[in-house]
């Protein structure tokens, strides 16, 4: 035992462990310490970089939750959804309306947001029984437009284009009204949902999802109930993205329909693809990439704003164009995403200098 190089599992229990080696556990603790300490140094570093670092982290966390959801659906079950932007909106509006009209605390509205979104997602996911691939993409795109329309035009419920003002999340008298406070709330949520995702993936539903993705006919033959698991996947996925929407509502405190467009759905898909479909880490890498990129784009565009005064007006457009371009580049040159790249880099260092 003493001189083994590599992982040699001697029992199934060992193989199924969440932390395969004590190294993994050590790195995770290190990461946790790092994340907990962000608010302490974030302010200073952020202002040095001319950005609000804590705010960025919170947004990354919210996107990670949503991206985990879509990754479960698209990466693990192989069902494409172009409606997750609107589903996030459903979550945000559910949380917002319950908080504003019925004055419910956030620890009630947030699960409610998840459940309502899960229900909506399951309704729009029912075509997945008959439809695959292309057809499903189109069906969920229709869902996106229909929900988007409802959010914009159902004034009595959503407040229409004027938006909905949401109070801060609060437990008793304690309000999450600063970036730092919300940061810790979001951190807890993101750890919780990453943990849940990891566990879904390695238990029965997760394996059923992967079986459906890889060859659904074979999966059905060996006893995976296709309808049940596909709808379940849609439900869980929408639950995640609904929670993300609820968190978004409490963080931004103003919900308007403008945020939950087709563009957001595409961004979510791009997060999963850039990060790596079918890797739990993929959603995390993808969300970080998606939030970091506009920040990186901002620096050259600020420099250019001296030359082109209307740089800021076209920034949004430019961003979409660059995103579109990067998505294309990724798909052509790195179709497995950042998570796969991460694995290659890691195994390079692990095996160095004997990489054969």
């Amino acid at each position: 035992m003493a001189y083994q190089c590599g992982l040699f599992h001697e029992s199934y229990k060992q193989d199924e462990r969440l932390y395969q080696t004590w190294w993994v556990r050590g790195w995770l603790i290190f990461l946790l310490v790092f994340l907990v300490s962000v608010p302490i140094w974030g302010q200073a570093v952020g202002s040095a970089l001319n950005t609000n670092l804590i705010n960025l982290f919170v947004i990354i966390f919210i996107y990670i939750i949503g991206a985990h959801g879509l990754n479960l659906l698209t990466g693990f079950t192989g069902q494409i959804s172009l409606g997750h932007g609107a589903f996030m909106g459903v979550g945000a509006y559910t949380a917002g309306i319950l908080a504003v009209r019925y004055h419910l605390p956030f620890y009630v509205t947030l699960p409610a947001a998840g459940l309502v979104t899960a229900a909506v997602g399951m309704v729009f996911g029912t075509p997945s029984l008959r439809l695959k691939g292309l057809y499903l993409a189109i069906a969920t795109m229709a869902a996106q437009f229909i929900l988007d329309y409802a959010m914009r035009n159902w004034d009595s419920l959503t407040g229409g284009s004027s938006g909905l003002n949401v109070p801060f999340a609060a437990i008793g008298k304690f309000e999450f009204n600063t970036d730092t406070r919300f940061y810790y709330l979001a951190l807890v949520m993101v750890i919780l949902f990453t943990w849940i995702t990891t566990n879904i993936v390695r238990t029965r539903p997760g394996r059923a999802f992967v079986a459906i993705r890889d060859r659904y006919l074979a999966a059905e033959v060996i006893g995976v109930n296709l309808f049940y698991y596909r709808i379940m996947s849609f439900g869980i996925s929408s639950f995640y993205v609904g929670i993300a929407g609820g968190m978004w509502a409490y963080y931004i405190t103003i919900i308007s329909d403008e945020h939950f467009t087709m563009w957001l759905s595409v961004q979510y898909l791009a997060m999963c693809i850039i990060g790596g479909l079918g890797h739990v880490k993929g959603a995390i890498f993808g969300a970080i990439f998606m939030v970091a990129l506009p920040e990186l784009l901002r620096i050259p565009s600020e420099m250019l704003s001296g030359v082109y005064p209307n740089m800021f007006e076209i920034f949004g457009t430019l961003q979409q164009g660059v995103f579109g371009f990067i998505i294309m580049l990724f798909l052509i040159f790195e179709p497995d995403g950042l998570a796969a790249r991460w694995l290659t880099i890691r195994s390079y260092f692990k095996l160095w200098p004997f990489s054969y």
Binding site: R130, I138, M141, F145, D155, A270, G324, I327, L331
Partner: protein, 297 residues
């Protein structure tokens, strides 16, 4: 004639005109799907590119007919470039990647265009007159009639092209069975490229026609999304289906918009086709003329 009937006919005729342009764009969409099995989410952006290039040329002082021909040339180049640069490397990748790459392309094209031309509405110098023509009590503007005629003309040209020309027959062969076609000596790569070129061309024509009616701005790209209900109704791989689907969706959205707007606070026209789409997917997923995929283990 009673007012209700006039309103109905009015809406129907307007819908038919819009629908004929949908049919044209849907034709391009189906063509790509048929020969390459790729769903092109950037179809609307092809419409946009065609419309803006033609506008640019016309504003530069080139008369309409040469400008139109040049736009067709530019569309061919666009189609070739996209096929070669973006889709060719994606052969053999999973469906989701291919879908995503066309979405990426869509956003890239759209933002490039709005960086060059801005987002405000631009109007074509009038080529067809807006003069209203009275058919009894129904009023139709002349430009609508020309649009319809042109759309039908182009549909006819392309339909004849598939039916009779050598490359058209090759395209149908590839759509039918790629491997057999290849073994019979049909250059599949050229067929792919031609499909993309024609798709870009018909979309360009659609863009110019619709731009003549409404003026163009960046939201014209949403026009491309309307082809989805049309092709789903007709069946993704049927050219006849695309034409009929386009017309039906155009008429339906106008009727639903005309009658239901008052109850839903406007904008029904934009969303109604997608309701139709979902309903069709539920009851007849392969559309009216599509080939049903039967899977056997």
């Amino acid at each position: 004639m009673p007012d209700a009937a006039v309103k109905f006919i009015q809406l129907f005729v307007t819908g038919l005109v819009t629908g004929s342009v949908y049919a044209l764009v849907a034709l391009g969409f189906v063509l790509i799907y048929k020969s390459t099995s790729i769903i092109n989410f950037a179809q609307g952006e092809f419409v946009l590119v065609g419309a803006y290039i033609c506008l640019f040329l016309v504003q530069a002082g080139i008369p309409f007919i040469p400008a139109f021909a040049l736009t067709m040339g530019a569309s061919v180049l666009l189609g070739l470039g996209v096929e070669r640069g973006v889709l060719r490397p994606m052969i053999g990748e999973p469906i989701i990647s291919v879908i995503m790459v066309t979405i990426g392309l869509a956003f890239f094209l759209k933002s490039t265009i709005s960086l060059i031309w801005g987002t405000q509405i631009r109007v074509f110098p009038p080529i067809f007159s807006q003069e209203p023509i009275h058919f009894g009590q129904v009023i139709v503007s002349e430009v609508y009639i020309y649009t319809f005629i042109f759309a039908v003309l182009f549909l006819g040209i392309f339909a004849a092209f598939f039916k009779f020309s050598r490359i058209g027959i090759a395209m149908r062969a590839v759509a039918n069975d790629q491997m057999t076609a290849q073994s019979m000596g049909i250059p599949v790569k050229i067929v792919f490229a031609v499909s993309w070129c024609i798709a870009a061309m018909v979309s360009g024509v659609g863009g110019i026609l619709i731009g003549n009616i409404n003026g163009i701005n960046i939201t014209l790209a949403d026009f491309g999304l309307k082809v989805f209900p049309a092709v789903i109704l007709g069946g993704l791989d049927s050219i006849l289906g695309a034409i009929i689907g386009g017309l039906v969706v155009g008429v339906l959205e106008n009727l639903m918009g005309g009658y239901l707007d008052q109850y839903f606070g406007g904008g029904v026209k934009e969303v109604a086709p997608f309701f139709v789409l979902l309903v069709i997917l539920m009851i007849k997923p392969y559309g009216l003329f599509g080939i049903e995929e039967i899977e056997r283990v």
